[in-house]
Symmetry: C2
Subunit: 511 residues, 2 copies
């Protein structure tokens, strides 16, 4: 238990000071403060000693140097039970500082407000983090507060312990303090990496904010939480049970596809983080019905992601199926009312969600694999017809659609498509031939059409056999990256069978 006699307050965020100052006053705590905080405290009519008076050293360099003074840091850093420290304090006529209340210049917020480098640099707080680090290091004796959100618990603690704090309380605050300083410098570091276009620095630090802890991870015996680089996520749950780890994983898989589609178009159905039906038919209801028709069995218990606002007409259809989650760019009032009739169904508004240029990382044990994301949009120019038979406009449209979806299917990935809708998805197989077979089986089971069906492969076919299997099943046009030493054989086979063959410039593995 440590009695608080002297507090140093230096806050950029000046919210909620009044009740805190009331409590400090009641406990006869001496307050030292600098700059704007001093003025604020005086305005609130509390006693306060200016830092410059305390240190007898004036505030200089337009505020750049205020608290970087031995009297301040010895006051914070001295071990109260160490006689050498006590002696040093006495000899220098220094005194203890027991409570440090500091929050930093808003560097992160400034990044969002300006692109002016000098203004940004000016917001790198030096004095604040130093006081916080001193206090957090010496938490055995010192209490450190780093956010106005902590005032309430400090007030409670001081009331409970008659002006003192417990070691447990101080240790917890010290833990939070170091997460604040680490976070703060991580944001600065990221900014410097960004402006210097340094993608893979020698030391990489990733900062994130807890969005929520989850009931469990992929399985009930795993602990889990979701974090974001931002304070809030840009998706909003408007109804239903708490989202699970697997829900989030599915939602992100679905949004990666949905947000790659043209504005206001497309339905994606995801199960086990893999698409089982996608349609980009312009009519919203049709796009849902078509996506569902690809594999209605897998869709059961899955998630539906609509890249448009859901209307009542669609909501009626959606309500016929058991779904875990529906994601959409909003819901109209009637649709929402209808969908809310299912108590557990999670409804997600992703209107504001969009993909930024981000690095994607995945960890295994203590290692982290980092790569730039694979989100570049593909257009006609990225493809080259290599067969004698040229694709019709309709075929080309379906080929590009199939290839674009194929990119988001786990490798080896084969996507069959017709009529702007997937007609069979083969995913996650070590053998490309097996992925072909899975896609074909799906097509045979669920698709009933007279229209031509096309196929896309996320990487090149190493042999003729895969393409042969597709052609034998009635596929008339195929798109794939080039690169096999048997490309010529494959082109010959396409020509022999009058199949359209298009090569893409890029491969799109996704594991």
């Amino acid at each position: 238990m440590k009695k608080i006699k002297t507090a140093l307050i230096s806050v950029s965020d000046k919210k909620n000071l009044k009740p805190l100052l009331d409590t400090l006053k009641k406990n006869k705590v001496k307050i030292i403060s600098s700059g704007g905080t001093y003025k604020e405290i005086k305005k609130l009519r509390f006693n306060c000693l200016e830092v410059s008076k305390f240190t007898n050293s004036s505030e200089i360099l337009e505020g750049r140097v205020k608290t970087l003074h031995p009297k301040i840091h010895a006051g914070i850093l001295n071990k109260r039970n160490n006689k050498f420290h006590l002696r040093d304090l006495k000899n220098n006529n220094f005194e203890n500082i027991d409570l440090v209340i500091v929050n930093f210049y808003p560097f992160e917020k400034t990044l969002k407000e300006t692109k002016n480098h000098n203004k940004i640099i000016e917001k790198i707080d030096v004095g604040g983090p130093t006081m916080v680090r001193s206090a957090a290091k010496n938490y055995q004796d010192v209490t450190v507060i780093t956010s106005s959100e902590q005032y309430k618990e400090l007030i409670d603690e001081l009331i409970k312990n008659k002006g003192s704090t417990t070691l447990e309380f101080r240790e917890k605050l010290s833990r939070v303090a170091f997460s604040e300083t680490a976070y703060y410098d991580s944001v600065i570091s990221k900014y410097f990496n960004k402006i210097s276009k340094t993608i893979f620095p020698k030391k990489k630090i990733i900062h994130s904010n807890l969005i929520e802890t989850l009931r469990y991870g992929e399985n009930p015996h795993q602990k889990s939480g979701i974090y974001s680089e931002n304070i809030e996520m840009n998706i909003k749950q408007v109804h239903g049970k708490q989202l699970s780890y697997n829900n989030y994983n599915d939602i992100f898989a679905a949004l990666t596809i949905s947000k790659s589609l043209s504005k206001n178009i497309g339905t994606v159905i995801v199960k086990h983080a893999s698409p089982c039906g996608v349609s980009i038919k312009k009519d919203h209801l049709e796009s849902y019905k078509s996506a569902l028709a690809c594999d209605p069995i897998s869709a059961f218990g899955g998630i539906v992601s609509c890249n448009f606002k859901i209307t009542k007409r669609l909501a009626v259809e959606l309500n016929k199926l058991f779904l875990e989650v529906i994601v959409a760019n909003g819901f109209d009032t009637n649709a929402l009312r209808l969908l809310k009739s299912k108590k557990n169904l999670r409804l997600i508004d992703a209107s504001n969600y969009s993909f930024k240029e981000n690095l994607k990382f995945t960890s295994s044990n203590q290692e982290i694999l980092i790569q730039s994301d694979d989100l570049n949009k593909l257009t006609n120019k990225d493809f080259k017809t290599v067969s004698k038979r040229k694709p019709s406009k309709q075929q080309m449209k379906n080929l590009i659609f199939a290839f674009n979806i194929c990119r988001y299917v786990k490798s080896n990935a084969i996507v069959l498509a017709t009529d702007e809708t997937t007609a069979g998805i083969g995913s996650g197989q070590p053998s490309r031939l097996d992925s072909c077979q899975i896609a074909i089986n799906k097509m045979k089971k669920f698709i009933d059409t007279d229209n031509e069906i096309v196929a896309a492969s996320d990487a090149f076919f190493p042999f003729v056999d895969g393409i042969e299997k597709l052609v034998q099943s009635g596929i008339t046009a195929i798109i794939q990256p080039y690169g096999s030493i048997r490309d010529k054989e494959i082109i010959n086979f396409a020509n022999q069978t009058n199949t359209v063959l298009v090569f893409s410039k890029t491969r799109h593995f996704r594991h």
Copy 2:
């Protein structure tokens, strides 16, 4: 271009100072230093002014407060082209510090050397990071060096520019400096989280060290690098081409399985980050041959991971197959010589690799999903036979083996096994029934045995149909988690068909 007249040196790592001091001397740089660094510089016979003399303020609190002084920080932080700053400096009789050479108390190293909390806390550097942050903030005027590895480039820069540094150089160093301070506090933050058992703090910061940048990511148009929480990874490449992103991804998938097996036992073959054959036969050569026999087609171009040391006898066999990578707990000399005959084949020694209790994270856009890993070992106690027919010892062994492998296969996962070897793996399907079919197809294609074949499912069968399909294909024993509302029907079906049915307590989704 900024001329360096005064340098402040305060280093915990005292390596390589001599050549640097030579260069500084040649350029007539005044040196200020504190504590151990001062002694070291004097020992090397260079002139040096003690910090306490410079500030006229003695080193106190056993070194806790040395450089936290306005004269130091004004000297670093003042903007040389700002007349107010110039005036403040003059009025206070302060002088410029143009070069800051600081490295921190070795907090991370100390963590590895001791569990003594007080000793660890004492290694939290306050003065060092503050000087570095001041200098890095003011990089327009100040040069900051944070590691002895940077001395060489500083020397080169000073020679090239006759005692000055360029803005570009200083900005780069500033970027590195902030990555150092962020990294440093991230390690401290992680330590505090660990001792307080805080798994999901409000602000989470992940620190990592670049192991190497990779040629590209999953695809040639993606940039990539591999990082580790440690300075070095515990795997060692002993031969072959540079590892690719996909190689690393496959290696980690393989090691997750290999290292879960009993000591010195088991071969795992991985393709596209998914196992396509696993055997735990005691004879090493047999285990490889059996793992390969499960799916020799998929194994082509894959990676083989042996949870034992590879001998010549096995190397001869391995050399018959085209492989990207071989991972093993070492290679004996003859094996290594033989395997090295393939120039491109990557050989990885993973003898020292082991799994720690780590959080696993995966990012999507700006969000990060974090969960504890699913590595708990399962034993007989975790399972309960629910059918009338009880498993034989052999069946139970194969069931547990199949279930343990099933955990590492992408969901929905079905693993068939016989004779301590997988006999068919169905992975990554939105429908469990499809995964059954894929596993059965593999079995029918590749497995020729009179022994009983058992099946494992990573999650419960929602309906009887999956289990029915397995039994129809000749499977005589099945293991799965419980939890379907149709569990009773499934038990009844098992009893009707005289099938062994074992329930596991835990589910093991992996997406």
